[in-house]
Structures are given as structure tokens and as C-alpha cells.
Symmetry: C2
Subunit: 325 residues, 2 copies
Amino acid sequence: MDEFDEIARLYRPLTRGAPEALDLLDDAAVIPSRPGYDLVVTKDAIVAGVHFLPDDPLDLVARKLLRVNLSDLAAKAAEPYAYFLAVAWPTACGFAERERFAKGLAQDQQAFGLRLFGGDTVSTPGPLTASLTVMGWAPSGGAVRRGGAKVGDVVLVSGTIGDGGLGLKAAQGALEGVTHDEAAWLADRYRLPQPRLQLRQTLRDHASAAADVSDGLLADAGHVGTASGAGITLDLDSLPLSAAARTWVGAQPDPCAALLVLASLGDDYEIVCTARPSAVDALTTSAATAGVRLAAIGRVTAAHGLAARYAGAPVAIQRTGWSHV
Amino acid sequence: MDEFDEIARLYRPLTRGAPEALDLLDDAAVIPSRPGYDLVVTKDAIVAGVHFLPDDPLDLVARKLLRVNLSDLAAKAAEPYAYFLAVAWPTACGFAERERFAKGLAQDQQAFGLRLFGGDTVSTPGPLTASLTVMGWAPSGGAVRRGGAKVGDVVLVSGTIGDGGLGLKAAQGALEGVTHDEAAWLADRYRLPQPRLQLRQTLRDHASAAADVSDGLLADAGHVGTASGAGITLDLDSLPLSAAARTWVGAQPDPCAALLVLASLGDDYEIVCTARPSAVDALTTSAATAGVRLAAIGRVTAAHGLAARYAGAPVAIQRTGWSHV
């Protein structure tokens, strides 16, 4: 099977007939303008052995790749629209593996309202490498940015923090201090994050700034501060934790140090956002209606930089997150 | 230097302050709609050792990556606008090499009118792998597509054919039958293709269909036929050749077989297009005014599939181009 047969069999069905994709028969996709809307575009890449485990099932890898990009759209309050895929396949990956990857894409693009508009498949002597360019729409000027936080704003985060990072360790069989069931639950959280797209309207209506938590809460909250020209102070004892993460913290000698680890791990794909104090009730109520719990975890400050407190006292931060360079 | 310092030093300058890029401080770029225009989007990936030689200078690699994507925009008659970059860096690549790559991007984005809007840098245990998503604008409905050819249209191609493929062999030191200077010229054509963006207005005004010649003339002309629901017949003796390619053909035992090889090699990044017979004069005159020679090389036919002739007689086609799977 050559490249063109593979495109026809595996990828053309993923366009679902979108006219923009030109049946993947052309040099490019053609996207009509949508007056009154901005196109929100994000691009992330993943490498086997770096961003996922080499023996992770490829349908899950594809779904995670879609989801980590969708998490960026969620943080901008954008509505999913389309994606472009580039995959470098190791020659050892046969049709069955490529088909499994495409099936993962099909499953999640359906769930999240995306269609494939184009891309490229190439071969590599190295590990499986894929990059996705994902596009969404936001009403003109309505994309929520990292740079909108104001001094005095409350910092909030969705869901629970630290599960993705603990889940990576669990998936590697290297996590101690939790039950077998908790380890399995955490590994699932790592392998298949839930982009918080249901927060779109909530963020657009009530948040002053937002980012997704991919590099670790401390790092990503810090980015909101930097982009906003302000500082961020987080209260570690306010971090929302899953039952499994609470079990893990309970097994550590120093709870403050353990919370700092959880706030430094990546792969949560939650949303960290800020809001005026007067908007916090409306924000959390709207989020709850959308099925997501938002927890207040800190403040935007006039002092630049990131600070953390535990039991009201300052905590030194050594590491603000993983960076995948 | 961490990922964020690297972004600030190497990549933020490539945004040239474009507001869409949000200083690369955000989760995504935000592109305002441009009523009356379509956004034309292409995505290509390259892998060291597959699409470029492992010891090619990284500024040239970056420039070629931009140019192969720009060639897709040229074929659609789109005006270059922006790009998103994902790079997987081998850990052995230090800052000097990354800087050289960024300098190549800076040089060519300036020459071709692009700005960087976002992307991702990751590490890889494998070869350097990069993917680019390039965007351009075309007046609404004005992007020239592969699917517009009609039976009876003339097939034309820009510049000269086969130089890129011969140039690859020359760059590997494996090309015989040409002079030293010709080999060097061909290797340059391979390393640094010239996207035919100056044909934009010409194609929009006079062409019925167009594609860029990246996989080989036969393959790409064949794609125009397939997308148009028609066939293509090419006259191999009409292929426009460079002086170096003519030298090479002259050194081969069978000129027809040699022309078939040139028409099957990839990496030309010329434009193959079609036009109504009545539009051919205006098309070629307009192209000449833009500084590009277009040669008539065949016809669009009612019989599906791709056919070739030499000295008026049919020629069997064994291979229609390289596919990088």
C-alpha cells in the first residue's frame, strides 16, 4: 500500500466530507472566513518514549494527542473545528498499527466535534513522532488569553491536580503509597486526559485569564502571571486533590513537599484561570452547572514571579514544572 | 537554557510582533477573520536522513522546510501569511545548531512574507524531525485547486523538471554524467528550491487547476487528473530541462528512459497546471512577465489515468514518483 492508498483508507474518512479538506486530494485545505469569529490555532508534538510510553496502545496515543491540543482550545474558550496531522511512522509500524491510530482519532474527533483537514505522513528511522495543528473558533475578541489577569484577581483551577504526573509513574509501575485500584485510575488519567471544553462559556463570561495545566500547575500559573505582567501566589493547602492523590500525599513524610511535587508535575490538562473577586461566585456556579468543580487556590499579586504558601507561610519553589526540551 | 528561554531567544523574534502570535506566551494563536478571503493551510513534515541529508546545514534545512510548504501555497495561488513550527530536537543538537535553524527561518520568512504564530519544541531520541503548518490567504473561492482540470485542457509546467532529484544524487556524490559545476548547481536546486509564488496572480487569472511538483511530475500531474476526474497524457520530449539535466540525459543510453526518470524524481517544487487551450497564450505571457517560463507538456484526456508519449508513441510508466512513506 502506498502513501495515497493509505490516505484514502485511513485518513479520508476522518474528513467526514468537510469541503475544506478537498478530500485530501489537494496541496492544501481551504478554509472560508467566518466573519465575527477568530480562528484559534494550537500545535503540539509528541514523541514515543518522551511523551508517551513506547508500548501504549496507538489508539490511546492518538486520542491523547487530540486531547492535549483540545485542552489548549478549552483554555482559550474556543469551539473545536478542525485538525491537521503530521505523523512520522517507524518502518516497523505496519498497517494494523496505523489503522489503530486512525481509529483512535476517529473516536475522539467524533466525541469532540473535530474533522481532519490535511497533513502529511512520512517515514522515520526513529521513534513514532506526531504533531497536530488544531483549530477552533471563538467569537471575535472572545478568546480568553493568558495575559488578562489583574492584581487582586482570584486564581482558580478545575478538577484535581497531580493525577497526570502520578499517573505517569503508575503507568510505569513506579508509584508507591497508593492502592492497586488508585494506581490504575491514575494511569488512566495520564493516558486519557479530559479536555475541559465544557468550561468554554464559563471562561468567556467570567474569567480574566486562562491557561491549560500541561507543564505543571506552578509553571502554567506562572505563565499566566508572566503574560499578565503580574505575580501569582498559590496556597498549596487549597490544591484540589483526587482521593488517589490524597492517599499518595498521606504516604509521604512531608505533606508540604508532597503538594509541591503534585503542583510541579505535568499532564493534568486542567484549566487554571483568574477572575475578579466579584466574579468568582458566578464563575464557580457556572462551572458547576457545566459539571466542573473550580477551586480557588491563590491570588494575582503586584510582586512579579510565582510564590507558594503552605499553612499561611511562604514555601521555597525549586522547580516549577517539567519542560520537554 | 530551558524551553521558555529558548522560545524567547530563538522563536519570539520570528513573530515580528504579530498580534496573532500573542508573543508566544499563550496556549494558542488567535487569527482574526478576514472577510472576503479564504485561509489556505498546508502541513508538511521532514525527517533527517529521509527528507534531508543528516549533515545538511540546519539553516538550509529550515529554509527548505519553509519553501516546500510555500510551494504548496504557490500552487493554490495563495499569499503567504503565517506558520506554526513543531521541532523534535535530538539531545545532541546544542544551542548553536538550534540557533542556526532559527536563522534560516528568519532569513526566508523575511524573503517570503511569513511570520511565526506558534508551535512546539520537544526532544527526541531519534533524528531531527520538524513539521510546519503554513497559512496563506486567497480571495474567497480564488484558491486554484487540483480538481479543476477539464478534458481538452493543456498541461503546463514551470521552470525545469528533474533537477531536484538529480540534485539529491549530486549532493550524495552519486551523480555521474555531468560536470562538476553542473553537479554543484543541481545539488543547490535540491537543497534550496524556489517556490513559484510569483505565479500567484497568473494561476488565479488563467489556470483551471494546479499542483506543486514535489513527488515527481508524473505523480503530481496524475493527482491533478485524479482530483479532476480526468486523465493526463504527457509528452516526455516536451519536458523543459535545465542545461545540467540535458547533459545528464545525453550521457544516458536511452533518452526516453532518462526523461521518464526525470519525470519521476521528486523535489522539483515547480508548478504543474492546466488551462483551456484559449487561455494558454495569456497564461504563458503572464507567467513570463512574472519571470517564469511555462512549457506546454501535455493534455487532459477523457480516459482516466496517466499516460506518457515519446516521439508521438506511447511509453509504459512503471513508477509515477517517490512517496515518502
